[in-house]
Symmetry: C2
């Protein structure tokens, strides 16, 4: 029954973490990972908290924490486990993400030893449940403008946390409505000397019995579009006092004399450095949504290969729906993109570990960190939108059956929806990615609102740099090996598609740079704003290129054989589908002729028909744990 | 406070039914129309049934029924009321649609006086709740292949309803799981002479206490992706006997001698004629989803005009998010499309009344009926996808707040999802629309599987006809009045855009005809299947043209002034956005130059910025009842 091609493809998709993923496939039990359909909100919340504690008990919370305090300091592993968990109930995924990733991650990376020694063991075991209280009613994307105030009172050596306005109420905070005993509260730090920008402070929010502590008002966000098992809520603070030691002080501290001290003088740089250490959350969200898309595809492709509808003529059986080109076009380019995205996801996961996995790392490779942040921002946007779009296409491809909760698609879609918003709103993230490409962080953009892209920078933009891309060698070899003239290379080839991806991304970025260079203090907002669609295009096409490069790199590294050949065909389908979507741009910019443009569409169609024959192998290769696919339509 | 431009636009959008819509806005009370968030499934079902009965009591169920039996025989009014109801809870909408439209509509239009006299009053008052039992586990789109059997037993003058296999179980049937006392069951009718194809039979399914009748097994489909207040369920029948009189006999009957009789000899034509009388369901679904999109836009546009994020520089306020081009691009082209679609919706609603509103109509205008069915099929697909996409864009545009159930967007999106599937799966419907365009119904396609498009037709296709389109005069005048050369007309004009829409649709259809003409018996499936993306393109572009024509027709009929001018700008944005999406096609086919293509994008951007200034007026004009917008983010 085993399919060696599927096994080999699954291994290459598993990347450096074959063993870890296999273990997760075996050890994450379905009865824990799946929530039955039709639970009430309270039942779902109960169940999610219980499952979180069981996962903690099994040790699944330890991967991302320092070894000195019982962790494994393997950020890559924590991201990979997050991906694997995303094959199950996404409420549980997000709940664990809040506890171990956001809350625990902030204590680990923004705090210092005094916090680690006191809290990390309890966080990893789930004895201390906590929240990551950043977003406020008035401030989602523009976190620098948070209104919560943390005023240092030197007379008592305490920090006073206060919510001055309605707009400063913390909201959508996971773990807040029911479970959190403590919160990492992001607030404007003020000392006698003045304001120091946003910092994080540990604030106890409930007593042992779960009652809000004095001065802390806790609300419940109530029913949401999805993630019913996550207790999102609100916090507001009425001059709540905590000891000075509760300041998470890795990047800024108050010394014994009540003076603010920091290694990073520029408050903006300090803020973005703090945020940067939290990039793992975005890596995880991208990976988790990518896994969801794979599960949806596994369900829809299997169903499509058995469901019949309409006969070619009266004396024949009805036709299997996946044999219809329209059905193939719905599912197979999305499958190809899912596979391609996996390699890009593996690449950023690996890079994260390289950059942050060491002991004293924060400032070690500023340029590398900046690049990673930019890449991760863009990839998170592209992957979460892909997941949302794919799960919906799969739902529709399964017809009325797809709408039944038991077939698993609708809850996934409802849950993944907000992945496009949390950990950075996608449109904002794409602009952040473009910004990372356009200019050198320290030199110019450091003091700028993200992503307003206006103001002080006017007149300075233009010396854009092209980001180093990790997987470039593989595709460059292919392109160089081709005839050298785009119009002589076959459409249906990775070399040609790779060249098109490069040209698209380069041209988008170059022309954007030229456009923004014209900014002056007076026209800056208008100029930047008018270019916003161009900014988004530049970011998206850059990510497309990174994805193809990472995927080709992995494919080129495989030993010759049918698995390598199949993956090549899949990546060509991914690339040509993307070129087809942008065919207007390619012709408009003289990169392809109209004849070539038609050839692209013809190739997409024939690749769909070709890969339809391999759909069982490809679904197998996605590595979705069999016992997590409970949809009756494919059992 | 009143805005005369908004009032005038609202009136033109209200079409011929200004008074009816105004009445609905006033009389449909919010406490009835809106369900609170966070209800359990059972609570939502209870509430929905109660609200249905109240609506019936208020007389809202009478519009679509014959006057002789207490109805108003105004199909247009019933569709318009459905649209207006769609501004409220969509579970209630669908529940009333099942009761008055599907169940009641089938009794009215497939039944005859004996059924009308016995049942209609009870249906309109809600004393008799019923189901429309068409779909089976194995047969969704291909309804002709239904497996349920209705065997006539002449010895007892009864019809025996039987479910022979698992695949023949009726499923996703609204009203089934809890409320229905009777069902219109679609089944293969068999008499002593043989099989007569699918017919509808009235079958009592529950006794007065709500218990299933002997031989009837009823199941609950359980939790779904949305529409929690609708009790979808399953029926299967074990040789259930009903009197012969229960056959809905408008198109086929069993006479006193037990002989099958029908005015329509061809069983396929008979079947499609029966289905055709039910076209109103698709008109309603399109209208209802269109209304949902408008409500979502009203919420997101109002929020976008108040929400601020990021300042241009430190000394300024944060910028209103709707001032960002990226935000405008998310919402304004979708607003423009929503407005354009309204006119097309009005046009099919009016046409429905013309064709079916008379007393003895079934065969009166076969060609007109065929055209209406084709148009409605395509428009339903285009509008429901537009609604789904728009509600999602609105959700994202409202960020985390958009994900909170209280802000109304997520439930709408979850509910509208299945509108793309029920009353005809969208991809199948687009093929049906294309089929309607390609050839004369009676002459060639009558015997063919819908939409297999293969088999008997091979070799016959090609003599396609272009559908008469109702609103053509207005746009034709504009085109004729322009310079006559496309390359000299301004991009930013309805005349040019209209000409592009025409060329796109004509060329798509012509080339499709040429392609399919090559079909032979042997290559038919392959040839049709390979052309499936072309078929979908031809249908979609045809509908786009119909939409623009209907909209221009309405706009041209307005008295000169700012409202007419504003609508013109809105329609240009709609048209140019569509051209921009297909720019690859237009350049590929030599319809626009690359310079013109760039000009289109520039015009879309500047129209977005221009119309952003009118967003309050445009939202007002959408006519969403104020008290049904309860989202706290816009109160």
């Amino acid at each position: 029954m085993t399919d060696p091609v599927a096994d080999q493809l699954r291994d290459v998709l598993d990347g450096r973490w074959i063993e870890l993923r296999q273990r997760a496939r075996k050890e994450l039990p379905a009865e824990l990972m799946l929530a039955p359909a039709g639970l009430t909100t309270e039942e779902h919340r109960d169940r999610t908290t219980e499952s979180l504690l069981k996962l903690a008990e099994m040790g699944f919370g330890r991967a991302g924490f320092p070894t000195a305090f019982g962790g494994e300091l393997d950020y890559a592993a924590s991201c990979v486990l997050f991906e694997m968990q995303a094959f199950g109930d996404l409420s549980l995924l997000v709940k664990t993400g809040v506890q171990f990733g956001l809350f625990g991650g902030a204590v680990a990376r923004l705090g210092t030893e005094r916090h680690h020694a006191t809290y990390l063991e309890d966080i990893m075991t789930g004895r201390l449940l906590g929240s990551f209280a950043m977003t406020e009613v008035g401030h989602g994307s523009n976190v620098q403008a948070l209104e919560t105030i943390a005023t240092y009172d030197d007379s008592t050596k305490e920090i006073v946390i206060d919510t001055p306005t309605e707009g400063g109420v913390k909201t959508y905070i996971g773990n807040a409505a029911r479970d959190a005993r403590m919160a990492v509260v992001f607030a404007q730090l003020v000392t006698g000397e003045g304001e120091h920008g946003v910092h994080a402070v540990l604030v106890p929010v409930r007593d042992e019995d779960g009652n809000p502590l004095p001065g802390v008002t806790i609300g419940d966000n109530g029913p949401k579009g999805g993630l019913p098992g996550v207790d999102n809520g609100t916090f507001s603070f009425a001059k709540v006092r905590v000891p000075k030691a509760n300041l998470l002080n890795a990047f800024g501290d108050i010394d014994d004399d009540g003076q603010y001290v920091s290694d990073i003088d520029n408050p903006n740089r300090r803020f973005f450095t703090m945020l940067g250490t939290l990039v793992r959350g975005r890596v995880c969200v991208g990976g988790g949504s990518g896994a969801s898309a794979k599960k949806a595809l596994a369900i829809a492709l299997r169903y499509g290969a058995t469901r019949r509808q309409f006969a070619a003529s009266e004396d024949q059986d009805e036709i299997v729906v996946l044999d219809y080109l329209a059905h193939q076009r719905k599912l197979l380019p999305r499958l190809a993109k899912s596979i391609a995205l996996s390699f890009a996801q593996n690449a950023v996961t690996e890079r994260l570990q390289e950059l942050q996995g060491g002991p004293a790392d924060a400032e070690r490779d500023v340029e590398g960190q900046r690049e990673l942040e930019s890449r991760v921002a863009g990839l998170k946007a592209v992957t979460t939108w892909h997941a949302l779009d794919t799960i919906q296409a799969c739902r529709e491809a399964c017809g009325g059956a797809g709408y039944m909760a038991e077939n698993q698609l609708t809850q996934m879609r409802a849950d993944v929806d907000v992945f496009t918003t949390f950990e950075g709103e996608n449109t904002v993230l794409l602009q952040l990615a473009a910004k990372g490409l356009l200019t050198d962080y320290k030199a110019m953009w450091g003091d700028l609102d993200v992503p307003g892209m206006v103001g002080k920078v006017a007149g300075q933009v233009g010396e854009f740099i092209v980001e180093r891309t990790t997987g470039r060698a593989g595709i460059q070899r292919l392109i160089d090996a081709a005839t050298g003239r785009d119009d002589e290379t076959a459409t249906d080839s990775l070399a040609w598609a790779g060249s098109m991806f490069e040209q698209r991304a380069d041209h988008a970025l170059e022309t954007l740079g030229n456009r923004l260079r014209k900014a002056t203090k007076d026209n800056a907002f208008e100029l930047f704003n008018n270019a916003q669609d161009h900014v988004l295009f530049a970011a998206r096409t850059h990510i497309d290129r990174c994805v193809l490069e990472a995927a080709v790199d992995a494919q080129q590294g495989m030993s010759d054989g049918p698995a390598k050949d199949l993956l090549e065909r899949v990546l060509i389908l991914y690339a040509l589908s993307s070129i087809e979507e942008d065919k207007g741009w390619f012709i408009e910019h003289g990169r392809i002729t109209t004849a070539r443009s038609r050839a692209v569409t013809a190739s997409v169609n024939s690749l769909c028909q070709e890969l339809r024959e391999q759909s069982t192998t490809l679904v197998d290769a996605l590595g979705v744990p069999e016992e997590l696919i409970t949809a009756p339509i494919v059992r």
